[in-house]
């Protein structure tokens, strides 16, 4: 399992670097697609078909949207990096971040023994008939989930019953993003002939003074 994941991850890293450094936007988007499919594949391998299916679908949608944004534009290539001094600082911070993150990750339990599978998070004892003691809630989801919710798929049980409130939030996020996108791409934004924007526009000193 570890080997398979490692190979996939290296592939993902390569496509990530490619997506960032390719000059053509379209190739970059396609590299991102490769990354997404690799990650869906690793979800399948990790026993998460419930995540893999939406991941593939979301990838397709993301690709369609991103390709729509890149096709037919005058400039297809990127013009490189930002100014170098800022880059140097951020790379330094990034290396610092990497060191600390890897340090922290080394203190995670090993693969297959994290989260609910960690020794410390196992339920203490389960005397028959006693209340379930969820040291980690996932034990409850797996052992009691199907009975108490009637959903054999415990992921769905978590999503829609135990933590349905999160899913309401998720649907709301999608709604928000959609309303936001529709608002941003509307034809006219102001109903009075455009107020002069005071901030950075030196060309508009006080015209339309008595707009009320």
């Amino acid at each position: 399992m570890t080997d398979f994941l490692t190979v996939l991850l290296i592939f993902m890293l390569v496509s990530a670097v490619a997506a960032i450094h390719m000059r053509s936007l379209l190739s970059a988007v396609i590299a991102l697609g490769a990354l997404g499919f690799a990650s869906a594949l690793s979800f399948l391998a990790l026993g998460a078909p419930d995540v893999a299916i939406p991941q593939v679908l979301v990838d397709v949608v993301t690709l369609v949207i991103l390709i729509r944004a890149t096709l037919g534009r005058d400039v297809k290539t990127t013009s490189g990096l930002r100014d170098t001094s800022g880059i140097a600082l951020s790379v330094a911070l990034l290396i610092l971040f990497g060191i600390f993150a890897i340090q922290a990750a080394r203190h995670l339990p090993p693969l297959g023994h994290a989260g609910m599978h960690a020794e410390a998070n196992k339920p203490v004892s389960l005397p028959p008939g006693a209340d379930f003691d969820p040291a980690a809630p996932s034990h409850f989801y797996i052992e009691k989930g199907p009975e108490v919710t009637g959903s054999a798929n415990t992921v769905t049980a978590v999503l829609l019953d135990f933590r349905g409130y999160d899913t309401l939030g998720e649907a709301t996020v999608l709604f928000t993003a959609l309303v936001g996108a529709v608002v941003l791409l509307r034809k006219r934004s102001r109903s009075v002939p455009s107020l002069p924007s005071g901030a950075g526009a030196p060309s508009s000193p006080g015209e339309g003074g008595a707009a009320s």
């Binding site: 339990p109 989260g115 980690a136 709604f175 936001g180 102001r190 109903s191 107020l195 901030a199 003074g209």
Partner: protein
Amino acid sequence: MADLNLLPLAVAIPLAAAFLVPLVPKKSRALANAIALLASVGLAAVVLYLLGRSGSYAVGGWKAPVGIELRLDGLSWLMLAVVAGVSLCIVLYATRYMDHYTARGKFYALFFLMIAGMCGVVITGDLFNMYVFLEIAAIASYALVAFGCEAEELEASFKYAVLGSIASSFVLLALALLYGRFGTVNLTQLAGKIGSASEGAKPLITFAKVLLFVGFGLKAALVPFHAWLPDAHPSAPAPVSAMLSGLLIKTIGVYALVRLAFTVFGLTAGDKVSVALMTLAALSILAGNVLALAQWDFKRLLAYSSIAQIGYVVLGIGLATPLGVAAGLFHLVNHSVFKSLLFLNAGAVEQATGTRRLDEMGGLRERMPVTGATSMVASMSIAGVPPFSGFFSKLLVIVACVQATSVGPIRYVFALVAVVGSVITLAYLLKVQRHGFFGKLRDKWRDVREAPFMMSSAMVLLAVACLALSLLWLPGVRELILDPARKVLVP
């Protein structure tokens, strides 16, 4: 338990309004306005009903670590009350202000989604749920910043969205690390497990702490992370600026930061995180105030000033002494009110004159008496002039600084910064008053008219609140509102 039955409505009401409003036909502005006002009033009523109650609410009837827990205590009630009260005034104002924009229904939808997100963050007792509602509020605010679709609004919004997404991903990374080690995301359970964690978990906990600190620091715009705020806040339409500066950075920034620092990571007076928080706060006060002094754009000046005032709030709370926390929370409430008011004033002026440049205004007090007078009240309050609420909260923050012996001698530096900061604040607000509202009326502003009734009444309400909030510190009132909130963080 039973008496918390209405708690989920604090999220459900704004959500229902947000889902309903886009269904209203474009022509019927009045209906959209009515839904918006009704939802705000409903939210305020729910919050009033919840006054003095506290406890835990199991969503879906699943007990805490299995299901999502909502928590109501003094602190979350205080934040809910601020959100409900200030947003009610802002909705009142927006009913007329948004006449200048199209897509009113979608504006209200995004506006209420933002309120729902903030309420959700405030009442949740679950880290992942907090992340979800944080994102609702954040995404709605990205869209609202760009609402006018002008070039600089879009640019500001993009910058804000990028930094905001980085912040959110840091929060999620911290959550993943904590989950990997402790197997839970419930805040209470997490706090227990972190408290009894072995030595081996320390680097992981420290890193998660740093990630959360940076993530919420970005959302709260503390100084090294403030770059997005001076662009994003002024660019938005006035009611949105008021929401962002008055409420959003406090609920999804300061509140979340403080809640996690105190209840999950057990922050105590004088520990490293507390000193780090106060150092950033002091930097924010200095940098925000000095940069504000140099601005000539009314709203941009206010945005920089927000950075400084958030500094006071965090300085007070970061002390982790009873007086400090109470003072910080007091200032948080005050700042929500007067900064929203000032942004609404700026919006009224911009709508009437078409400019935000202070050097182009002058003498507007004659033509816009209500706006002038309310902005005067807000300015005096924020600058800390005695009878107004801002004076008391700033004074208390400074006193708390001096008294916090556990912090060591550096506390005098913090106190000094706070004093210097309020002098500079006074200076730039005098600048606003002198150039904007006093002085000689320019000829081109002869025909300027006062803002419509709905807008003025919103401003008057907030101005009255500015004065009334001084009462929060009175014994009797304090025990009802500020003390329960303070006790949540420090006994």
